[in-house]
Assembly symmetry: C2
Homo-oligomer: 500 residues x 2
Amino acid sequence: MNEYASAQRRLCFAVQNRFGDGDSMSERPSGEALSAVRRVLDRTLEPSRIRDDPTELEKYASDWSGAPPVLPDLVVKPRSTEEVASILRAANQARVPVTPRGLGSGKAGGSIPIYGGIVLSLEGLNNIEHVDRANMTAVVGAGTILADVWRATEAEKLFYPPDPNSFDICSIGGNIACNAGGPRALKYGVTKNYVLGVEVVLPTGDIIDAGKATLKHVTGYDLTSLVVGSEGTLGVITKATLRLLPEPASIETGVLHFANVHTAARVLTQLLADGHQPRTLELLDHHALDALRQKSPNLFPDTIGALVIAETDGTSDERAFADLQQLAEAALAYGALDVQVAQNEADRRRIWLPRNTLSESLRATAEAKISEDIVVPRSHIPDMIDAAQRISDRHGVKVATYGHAGDGNLHVNILFDRDQRAAADGAVLDVLKAAISFGGTLSGEHGLGMMKRDFLGLEHSEHKIELQRTIKKSLDPNGILNPGKVLPRRAISSPQVEAK
Amino acid sequence: MNEYASAQRRLCFAVQNRFGDGDSMSERPSGEALSAVRRVLDRTLEPSRIRDDPTELEKYASDWSGAPPVLPDLVVKPRSTEEVASILRAANQARVPVTPRGLGSGKAGGSIPIYGGIVLSLEGLNNIEHVDRANMTAVVGAGTILADVWRATEAEKLFYPPDPNSFDICSIGGNIACNAGGPRALKYGVTKNYVLGVEVVLPTGDIIDAGKATLKHVTGYDLTSLVVGSEGTLGVITKATLRLLPEPASIETGVLHFANVHTAARVLTQLLADGHQPRTLELLDHHALDALRQKSPNLFPDTIGALVIAETDGTSDERAFADLQQLAEAALAYGALDVQVAQNEADRRRIWLPRNTLSESLRATAEAKISEDIVVPRSHIPDMIDAAQRISDRHGVKVATYGHAGDGNLHVNILFDRDQRAAADGAVLDVLKAAISFGGTLSGEHGLGMMKRDFLGLEHSEHKIELQRTIKKSLDPNGILNPGKVLPRRAISSPQVEAK
């Protein structure tokens, strides 16, 4: 974790030092500004909502990105949308930065208060207002833990598909802010596909009900989609109306073995084009398998150079099983070496175990690890794997790839020794550039936050970045909301980064 | 068609006359401004692209809304994105309104040049760049006819689900601008769910590639979704990257009979909550059936007060048939009177015939007809049907309802005689208000255009409308792009409309 942080930090701050910083709010607030906002908060909120003791400030200084902690000046924990509005109004008046925070499980440093000011924790807005079985919707507070949303919907035999790995520690508001994905995104899509509406507080304190609890509407601009994935830079999400599906009656799990990752990628592409609709297709390349073999030498036969975990689900046991069987037969016909299907829950856990312990196993093979979150069009997975190999050779670091191959979302892991920092930085940049060169993207499900903002110029044109700045400026004229996130520093552009 | 227009026009213009007009561009351009823009166009475009002959101007003065025609000053027909950019740059410079137009099949007057200026016809950008079978995507020009998109994707055994009724005369760019739906939206969602990216030209002439050909990405703001459904007011869509699905191997069709529309609505809701996933559930209420009976008295037994056309599709004949059979059995258990399943294509056509000829049959029962496009949460369909009956009684006009009941999208038809205009206007307003009161929306798939813009205050708060104005203003500072559409005139707000 710390290694990841340091390496990413070097990338970020190397760039920062060269070009300076162009955020409209780019320093900590003055004591005067803080006192002004504090006076208003003391007048409008219960004292228990406002915290400035060191233990508490430290607790809200970092997230799961492992980026270096930055202490806020205040942590404020509202219990209602109206309280959120009054906090934002006061902060906007006094020009004090506000960093919204769900439960701090983000991987891109999006909730780190890099210019101090207020951390606005939404953890208190964790009310599940209702689950509506007839209309298959739910209304939940932004601070609700995803696992609690699942429990509440499953109690009504309904299904909320997005499944980031952090499901038992992440908030639904954070999921929406980062447009979270997960393995099931292959069949079911990402968070944005399940958000019908959001209640959002603008930096000015205005409360907006974006969206609608109906499945269709074309009335004005799609403000909901603008907020989803904006990583807390345009407004603070306080509540969401979610679209639910009927709960699948049955899930079947199997594992496909391949000689190498090229065959695996080709076969996956063919299966999906043929109309198979598995809910997950999780790929592990041979570096990933080797890391697992270091711990358990006989885990896989030597002939296996790639592995895919496939799951199907359906309205009945027979359907889900028939789907997996048909997929497995087709995979064998297209070139898989072997297929194993779980006969019971113990089998299922055994199949998932390598995937679930992989991050840890990889970490054990080197002193440091950086995990990237790129996406490429499916057909370019083999190209990306080849590119990763070349990058590995060029920089003298190991690169292992695994992830949600069905939708092209690969977690590319750079493994290196402590004295190889510069090489690792170079490898990361090359991985990002390679993904872009294949028509891919910098981030599939983690977001840009503070970690990757300065690379946006690799992917977006100047005009496109400028358009986003215009939108940000029009909604947040004083730049108080989550400054230093998503949009790159002004002086950074693709050629300059490429010249690095 | 003309009756619809007149009635809607009365509503629009009654309001306009009372409050004046607050659009930032709200009159026809001066001769000077037109000459300035014309000079630039003559210099940069082939002469054949620029038309100002009366026949041509008239052809581009109206659309399928039936709203009163307004002649543009110029029709410009670019053949490339760069030409679109140069037209917008010139118009923006000279402050001349530009009304983008796909193929003019819109139902809300979105492509009528109400302040004159330039109609920018995208019909020439009708190139299907490619259909990518491996990644299941297609890249198509904005002017491509939807039916041509279908043909090209079906040739690769792929499937683009959105299916507005106008499929053989509408453009994909227009579909995206209005976020078009159709019967299959029940299972597959609307246009926005299939647009991965758009190439869009901003009012300033900047060309932006929004979105990405990958299934996942969280890199900056979702500019694609902001453009989808914005009805040509934020930018001109020139090209789109579409997400495709594997083509379903089989479709099965059946018709369910019910004693009344309440039972029908209750049963549909139960079927969907149980996990049935038909691709269409099209409802006809008893007024609709009565209209059909006037032409063919023995079309349905007297006991039938509502009818639902259900279709299932799947990866095999057996699956689609089993799905329809299970749905039919459940419907009978829940209270359907009878179910008929099509045994062949002739049966299938016979089942769809009443639905496909309904609009015409309804028109024959009265001198005039207005068709509304509301959506309510599914569970409120019975309430909405009851409300329609009360509105009918109150205003002395007939109200017949049919539509995509599975997703709550109802086409509520007001049928009236020529001397009942005022009553019909009142009924329309009451239908919209009733939909909103049930948590519904003004438009499910047609958009607001010029026809319903002034009713937006019924659904959106002042803050929310103001936020949309801010976004519009920031992208189109001179207000040249499709002025007079989507956002209401400044002086109009919900209480004022309600006081009508």
